[in-house]
């Protein structure tokens, strides 16, 4: 996950926002991977995505 986030940044996709998810994802993992946000579940993920649009 950390590698993927870094690869997206390295590819110059700086205007793309990255959200991660899964049962064990929390703020610790979000910071570790460098993602912009995590969704606690699918509904939370939809709410975050809407707030980005």
């Amino acid at each position: 996950m950390k590698h993927t986030v870094q690869a997206l940044k390295d590819a110059g996709l700086t205007d793309v926002k990255i959200m991660i998810g899964g049962g064990q994802i929390d703020e610790n993992i979000r910071q570790y991977t460098g993602a912009d946000a995590y969704g606690k579940d699918a509904m939370a993920a939809v709410a975050i995505a809407k707030s980005w649009s």
Binding site: Q24, I25, N28, I29
Partner: protein
């Protein structure tokens, strides 16, 4: 093998529980030294007091449900090694136990890689096969029972498993579908139907493949058994668990898949309920038989689709809880403790668990609020959990230490608490694992 005492029929559930725990605790171990024997006895006595919810010197820290792969990964071994190279695990495991002196033994699960290859097993992919070597194992869901087959399953779960499910997930076992219906074999001429598949080339090829897989399995079990035996002989007892699931999870994880079972709650509710109910006696018999065979005093449920995020409380109480509770109550009557590994969160389900009799459960939590757990369940049941995998992977040692210290303080006056992880992780550091294990020793 657990031998029931002669007065089993007159014994109460808790007396039966005591008999099973006695058999587990007193199983003979050929210790490597008097020191190892003394250490083993202190450790298993402490664990026994926890199972009995009686006063003891300190909680234990059980790294199994978190660090069971890290204990060999720390020496450079990978997922493929855990699936295929069981002899390579022995030295790192013995070294880990010697160095860390854990309260209980800890090993990776014994994945039989060569056997899975030989039978072309479809329910998983694994390191060295379709996964990269660094990964161990990944479940692959499939619809191994169609929606309109619920009635076939409910009519005879064992027959469905034997003749439909096994051929679908292991094509090498497809000829099992040729077997006759066993309950009608009663008269001499019925032997024709019983034996005729065994005379056909496809069935004989299957038997040959199974015998070859059996030879491989015996080699692997010999190695794994020897390693486990050496760990016990060095002074480290195991928890004594058989892995099982709830009726709903066998149907959801294994037969219908997540999408299928969640839609079935709306589209086929009566079929789903009938299948869960048909499962109850089959599952009770299967778990009691396994507990008698290997003397494990507890059944370890890996719990999946009843978590807060997968279904509403109303759905849980309609589809998930009633048949699971029936199984656990039957096990309680047989003296078998249900060890619940509660993946995800169960914040809405704690009052349901509280319906179970005292000492019938070990409740091991992942994302559940441990303060509410303390209030609702800790007087009746053994509680374990819930150091996050994210902390073990990405947190600092100080953060791990603080999280564990908070749990120790919270459960200081609870009758029985086990420091444990909420989920397994691949990577951490020795320092963080030590902080976890030392947290109960202060």
């Amino acid at each position: 093998m657990f031998i029931r005492p002669d007065n089993w029929d007159q014994m109460s559930p808790l007396e039966r529980r005591k008999a099973r725990l006695d058999a587990w605790q007193n199983a003979p171990v050929p210790f490597v030294s008097p020191e190892a024997e003394a250490n083993y006895k202190v450790r298993i006595e402490r664990l026994r007091k926890i199972y009995d919810m009686e006063p003891h010197d300190r909680p234990i820290a059980d790294p199994f449900m978190g660090a069971n792969e890290y204990v060999v990964r720390r020496k450079g071994l990978n997922g493929k090694d855990m699936v295929y190279n069981h002899e390579k695990l022995r030295d790192p495991l013995l070294e880990f136990h010697n160095e860390f002196q854990p309260d209980t033994s800890v090993m990776p699960l014994p994945y039989p890689g060569k056997v899975m290859d030989m039978l072309d097993y479809k329910s998983y992919i694994w390191g060295g096969q379709k996964l990269p070597d660094n990964l161990t194992i990944q479940a692959v869901e499939g619809e191994h029972m169609l929606g309109d087959e619920y009635k076939d399953f409910a009519a005879d779960p064992t027959n469905f498993w034997l003749k439909k499910y096994l051929p679908r997930v292991m094509p090498a076992l497809a000829p099992l579908a040729m077997l006759t219906e066993l309950p009608r074999v009663s008269e001499n001429v019925d032997l024709i139907d019983l034996v005729v598949p065994f005379g056909t080339p496809p069935f004989q090829a299957m038997l040959k493949a199974l015998m070859e897989a059996g030879d491989e399995l015996m080699k692997m079990l010999g190695i794994v058994g020897q390693t486990g035996g050496m760990i016990a002989a060095s002074g480290f007892p195991g928890m004594g668990l058989n892995i099982v699931k709830t009726p709903f999870d066998y149907l959801g994880d294994t037969l219908r898949g997540t999408k299928g079972i969640l839609m079935d709650m709306y589209r086929r509710p009566n079929d789903l309920l009938a299948a869960c109910e048909a499962y109850v006696p089959v599952l009770i018999n299967a778990i009691v038989s396994a507990s008698d065979r290997n003397s494990a005093p507890a059944a370890l449920y890996v719990l999946h689709k009843g978590a807060d995020a997968f279904m509403s409380q109303e759905q849980f109480e309609k589809f998930y809880w009633p048949t699971w509770k029936q199984v656990m109550l039957a096990l309680y009557e047989e003296g078998i403790t249900s060890y619940l590994f509660i993946e995800g969160s169960y914040n809405n389900r704690l009052e349901n668990l509280a319906e179970m009799p005292e000492k019938s459960l070990v409740c091991h939590f992942d994302k559940t609020d441990m303060r509410r757990v303390k209030e609702v369940l800790s007087d009746k049941f053994i509680i374990a959990g819930n150091v996050p995998a994210s902390l073990m992977s990405a947190g600092t040692t100080d953060e791990v230490r603080a999280y564990c210290a908070d749990l120790v303080e919270l459960y200081a006056d609870a009758p029985a608490y086990i420091m444990a992880h909420g989920c397994y992780f691949e990577n951490t550091t020795d320092e963080k694992l030590r902080a976890f294990m030392d947290s109960v020793k202060k």
